[in-house]
């Protein structure tokens, strides 16, 4: 059985199509990163999967059932974001105890040891926490629930670098000991390259690509050289990104399917090769046309005036 299956999924808000004929299928017991620019539809997709939002049309299934208003999906899914709402009279420890009462696979020992490790006080309340601390606490709830489908929407919001590192480590260890399907969206893809097995890139409400992390890391390659030298080589290649770095220097990202001979010839012509990280590629391919030169352009233009 697939953990997640979406077919021609559409979700429309009043003015904007948030999900546009989205198709996605994720196997059980994978750890999958959901990447995409702001407004690509990541949160909408995740909330629909958790049964919090209702799809407009299309098919969406979590463990074979439609998530909206479904108790089975709710019992086997947890959705963690940075806007978790817990009753304000409850202390942090009491919230964890409620989690234990609700979730069937809840590991209270894990919850308490993480709680102590990250230096929480049992009597603290959720609304008294700083942004980073709040995210850390929510992450503990997400991990300890051991839900067959665990969804983290931007789990690292506000966390400092050290805590993020701890989080990735805790996530990986717990995932290896207790395999389950974990879907997480993040703007720190570069930090999670060693953690994620698959990457789903969303763009404008649909899936741009869905591939194993290992493939993604070598999917593209960066070329640097004189524009006049690069141009003839690039003509028949799939170009993901073009950036003029100087008066006549250019940086190109193309699909990494060059033959050995081509590589040799290009090196001879003075073209330099560089690897492209998964996160950079995700940003490059989803760059809207017309913004190709980036935010620098905005400032250059105003300086000209």
């Amino acid at each position: 059985m697939k953990a997640i299956k979406c077919k021609d999924l559409i979700k429309r808000y009043r003015r904007k199509k948030a999900l546009d004929n989205l198709n996605l299928s994720i196997e059980e017991n994978r750890i999958v990163g959901l990447a995409g620019r702001n407004g690509a539809g990541k949160t909408t997709l995740m909330k629909i999967l958790a049964g919090l939002l209702k799809e407009q049309s299309g098919i969406v299934e979590v463990y074979g059932r439609r998530p909206f208003n479904n108790l089975f999906v709710s019992a086997n899914t947890i959705y963690i974001d940075d806007q978790m709402n817990f009753p304000s009279p409850l202390t942090l420890i009491e919230i964890l105890e409620e989690g234990q009462r609700f979730y069937y696979n809840w590991d209270h020992e894990l919850a308490l040891s993480l709680f102590n490790y990250f230096g929480f006080h049992p009597k603290q309340r959720h609304n008294e926490l700083s942004k980073g601390k709040e995210s850390t606490f929510n992450m503990i709830v997400g991990l300890a629930s051991r839900s067959p489908l665990t969804i983290f929407d931007e789990p690292t919001t506000g966390m400092d670098a050290a805590v993020r590192k701890d989080f990735y480590r805790a996530l990986l260890k717990d995932y290896l000991n207790h395999p389950r399907t974990i879907l997480l969206s993040t703007h720190y893809l570069e930090e999670m390259e060693d953690l994620l097995e698959e990457v789903v890139l969303m763009h404008n409400g649909s899936i741009f690509f869905h591939m194993p992390m290992d493939d993604l890391k070598t999917y593209s390659i960066g070329l640097t050289g004189k524009r006049t030298v690069l141009e003839p080589w690039a003509q028949e290649k799939e170009i993901f990104y073009t950036h003029d770095t100087g008066v006549d220097d250019r940086y190109l990202v193309i699909k990494n399917n060059l033959s050995d001979k081509e590589v040799e010839d290009m090196k001879q012509a003075g073209i330099r090769f560089s690897p492209v990280s998964a996160s950079d590629l995700c940003v490059y391919v989803t760059d809207e046309k017309g913004r190709e030169r980036g935010v620098d352009d905005v400032f250059n233009r105003s300086a000209d005036r």
Partner: protein
């Protein structure tokens, strides 16, 4: 090797857990109950009516005290608490753990029933507090304490009546709240429509408020009263549940 297993759950189990969760989480509800009933006692000390005689050398002043204000305040508390439970923050609290709309609504309604029982019970007890206070505070007069003239049977009937009326007003609050959550326009529309239509009907001689009062509060037949309130409450909650089924949480 640990393997992931999927769990089938029963609505009843989740509802039970949700009620326990609310019981532990919403202690503020009982705090406000205590405050509002103490206020009720305070206002009741003013007396609900008085009369006097002056004849042949005697001057007799009679001051009446009744716990009605406490009950009215508690009814109002039930209405407001239900309204509060429909706000997004409270609904989202449910969805932080396992639930669907059905179990969330059912558990909220059952929890409102539980607190209606507590509110009704304590409002009757507050009546005793009032009696004790009048006895202490007005030592110059002879205080005539009237209680349970017809034994515990009548007292229990009184309790049931009070609980049911609080529960009914909680259903009104819950429905109003759900309508407002569904469309914010109802925040203005509901009072305008309610008072507008009441005024309009009053002009053509139909006193809705009076009719309402007679229909529920002046019903002499206990069984009929119980049926009236239960049917109304059920209808209002069903309508509210219907609306809440169309609400998305966590936008």
């Amino acid at each position: 090797m640990w393997t992931m297993s999927l769990t089938e759950v029963q609505t009843v189990d989740v509802v039970k857990k949700q009620i326990g969760y609310k019981w532990r989480a919403y202690t503020g509800v009982f705090m406000s109950l205590v405050i509002i009933q103490l206020l009720g006692v305070l206002f009741s000390l003013n007396g609900s009516g008085s009369g006097g005689y002056g004849r042949t050398g005697y001057d007799i002043m009679v001051q009446y005290f009744s716990g009605d204000i406490i009950i009215v305040f508690t009814i109002f508390w039930g209405f407001l608490t239900a309204l509060l439970f429909t706000t997004r923050a409270y609904r989202e609290d449910d969805f932080s753990f396992i639930t669907n709309r059905t179990s969330s609504t059912i558990s909220t309604i059952l929890f409102l029933f539980v607190i209606s029982v507590i509110g009704g019970f304590t409002s009757l007890l507050s009546g005793y507090l009032l009696k004790v206070l009048t006895y202490i505070l007005f030592p110059e007069g002879k205080t005539l304490l009237i209680s349970n003239p017809e034994g515990p049977g009548v007292w229990i009937m009184g309790l049931v009546s009070v609980v049911l009326i609080i529960f009914m007003f909680s259903s009104i609050g819950y429905l109003a709240g759900m309508m407002i959550q569904w469309n914010k326009l109802f925040l203005i529309l509901l009072p305008v429509l309610l008072f507008g239509s009441m005024t309009w009907l009053a002009q053509s001689g139909v006193m809705v408020g009076e009719y309402f009062y007679q229909f529920y509060f002046q019903e002499k037949n206990f069984i009929l009263y119980v049926m009236k309130t239960i049917v109304s409450t059920t209808g209002l909650y069903t309508f509210a549940a219907f609306i809440s089924n169309h609400l998305e949480v966590k936008k």
